[in-house]
């Protein structure tokens, strides 16, 4: 088991992380499912025809719960009295990163989606309606889950980079990034178009229009869906590798 990456050791690391955190995970699941069951039960009782409207609520809970869970996953690393165990555990940085990501991303998503389906099924039963389960082929549903998968990597990086209050600090960092990017975009637009107010197709050249369309319909979505997540995971790897007590 001395290689830098070993599947058996990865499995043992995942098992360790789950066993050490199992009580917290179970309490969190019980609390969230309990609250959602009450809301679903009330909805099924008062508006039996609108149980389908519960899906967005479930997804919001999945997003927020997932971000918070992700932000807390490296708690052992940030506790002065526990970090030595995590840092000196004979597991490589790549295995620690991948093992932890597997827990907060695919494992969490599978559990959360299964919970969403179960809650929808129970709500439909309580409402006396035929079960209206979200479909995996539903574009809205799959794109929402995909968006979670990508945006969660921000919180994964924040979980490693910040010491304490990781969720709130990541939110603050995202807010600041949004302000900077927004400010840059406004400044750029001002430099290009001045005080023209509403812009029409006649205000820009054909080439500019094509370039802008290419950037916003091809480049930006490509960067978001395929580059952003892996990039943030690579940055997370180096942050973890260089982490000291």
């Amino acid at each position: 088991m001395n290689a830098e990456f070993n599947l058996a050791r990865l499995g043992l690391f995942i098992k360790r992380q789950l066993l050490l955190n199992i009580n917290t995970i179970l309490i969190a699941i019980a609390a969230v499912v309990g609250v959602l069951l009450i809301i679903s039960g009330l909805t099924a009782y008062s508006n039996p025809n609108k149980v389908q409207n519960l899906v967005p609520l479930y997804l919001v809970v999945l997003f927020i719960g997932g971000y918070i869970f992700t932000s807390r996953i490296f708690g052992e690393l940030h506790s002065p009295q526990k970090s030595y165990t995590f840092l000196t555990l004979p597991v490589s940085t790549a295995e620690k990163l991948l093992g932890t990501w597997l827990i907060v991303s695919p494992f969490f998503l599978i559990t959360a989606i299964a919970g969403t389906f179960l809650l929808m099924y129970v709500s439909s039963l309580m409402a006396g309606q035929p079960a209206q389960l979200p479909s995996f082929t539903d574009t809205y549903f799959t794109r929402t889950i995909g968006a979670f998968w990508v945006t969660q990597t921000f919180f994964f990086l924040g979980a490693i980079a910040f010491r304490g209050n990781n969720f709130l600090k990541t939110l603050l960092a995202l807010f600041l990034i949004a302000i900077v990017v927004g400010g840059y975009a406004v400044g750029l637009a001002y430099m290009l178009f001045g005080n023209k107010g509403n812009l029409g197709p006649s205000d820009v050249s054909g080439d500019f229009h094509k370039t802008a369309e290419f950037i916003f319909t091809d480049v930006v979505p490509f960067l978001f869906w395929y580059v952003l997540g892996p990039f943030l995971l690579v940055v997370s790897y180096f942050k973890l590798k260089e982490r000291q007590v």
């Binding site: 001395n2 830098e4 050490l20 840092l87 004979p90 000291q244």
Partner: protein
């Protein structure tokens, strides 16, 4: 072998802790790392175990760069820190989830150490006292059979019988492949246990000698009355008498009083080191 070579380290930009620090630790010995509060003992141990990175210079452990924290190196290091927080799980679960990463972990040895420390192996970690938790960690660390065992203030929190058990276990655990580093303020707890004394002061190693060399060159006297001043290397008041360190001119090896030695080194390291020729300490 553990080697620190030209290590510079600082927590704050303009306040270096270690500058050009050199230290070599050989297998088969128990090293006592002594120093006052804030001397840098814990930081030195963290540099050796790869938890802190030198600003320059290198820290190597059995040929590995400590900062790379490779699993092959980490399997051969076990650190028992001064302050720790164990998860609220049973001992059995802890062992089941953690021992698997140490190829040389021996469950038989672990059970034997627990028995020696009078710890029940079915206890929940959160129900143990601080001293019991420390004994559990020491037993676990020894059972990993890591070649480098680092103990930061291991006797803090141990009662008197446990300190005796600790000394007995540590003495029996050493073999020719292992390096054991024990950092402590409580120098008397290490008497008859350590082979080499390393003293750290203000980020510098001011003394590094084996117990054999110390007992050959120095003698520890508890009544210095009548001895000429030039014979006395260090003196202090002890229960109304003058105790201290003198040159060992008898040629017989005597008992090393670590507390007197430590006080003497802190007061005037140059004078104590002057008794050892050639100077073997590394600065």
């Amino acid at each position: 072998m553990i080697k620190l070579n030209g290590v510079d380290f600082r927590y704050k930009k303009n306040k270096p802790l270690f500058e050009n620090l050199n230290l070599t630790l050989q297998p088969g010995f128990i090293y006592g790392l002594l120093g006052k509060n804030g001397a840098g003992k814990s930081s030195l141990l963290k540099l050796i175990s790869g938890m802190l990175f030198p600003d320059s210079g290198e820290a190597s452990v059995f040929g590995f760069d400590a900062t790379a924290r490779k699993p092959a190196m980490l399997q051969d290091i076990y650190l028992v820190p001064e302050e720790f927080n164990l998860p609220a799980i049973s001992m059995a679960t802890y062992v089941k989830t953690t021992a698997v990463f140490y190829e040389k972990f021996s469950h038989n040895q672990f059970s034997a150490y627990l028995a020696e420390f009078e710890l029940a192996d079915d206890a929940k970690l959160s129900t143990l006292s601080y001293g019991q938790k420390k004994k559990f960690l020491i037993a676990f660390g020894l059972a990993t059979n890591a070649r480098l065992l680092i103990l930061d203030e291991p006797t803090n929190g141990l009662d008197i019988p446990s300190k005796s058990q600790f000394r007995k276990i540590m003495a029996s655990a050493l073999d020719e492949e292992k390096v054991i580093v024990i950092s402590t303020h409580q120098v008397r707890d290490l008497e008859n246990l350590i082979d080499t004394i390393v003293v750290l002061e203000n980020g510098k190693i001011i003394f590094n000698q084996s117990i054999a060399a110390i007992s050959e060159r120095l003698a520890f006297e508890y009544n210095l009355n009548g001895l000429p001043n030039e014979e006395i290397i260090y003196a202090e008041e002890l229960h109304g008498r003058k105790a201290g360190i003198v040159r060992n001119i008898s040629g017989l090896d005597g008992r090393v009083d670590m507390e007197l030695l430590f006080n003497g080194i802190i007061k005037d390291a140059g004078k104590v080191n002057g008794q050892f020729a050639p100077h073997q300490y590394e600065v």
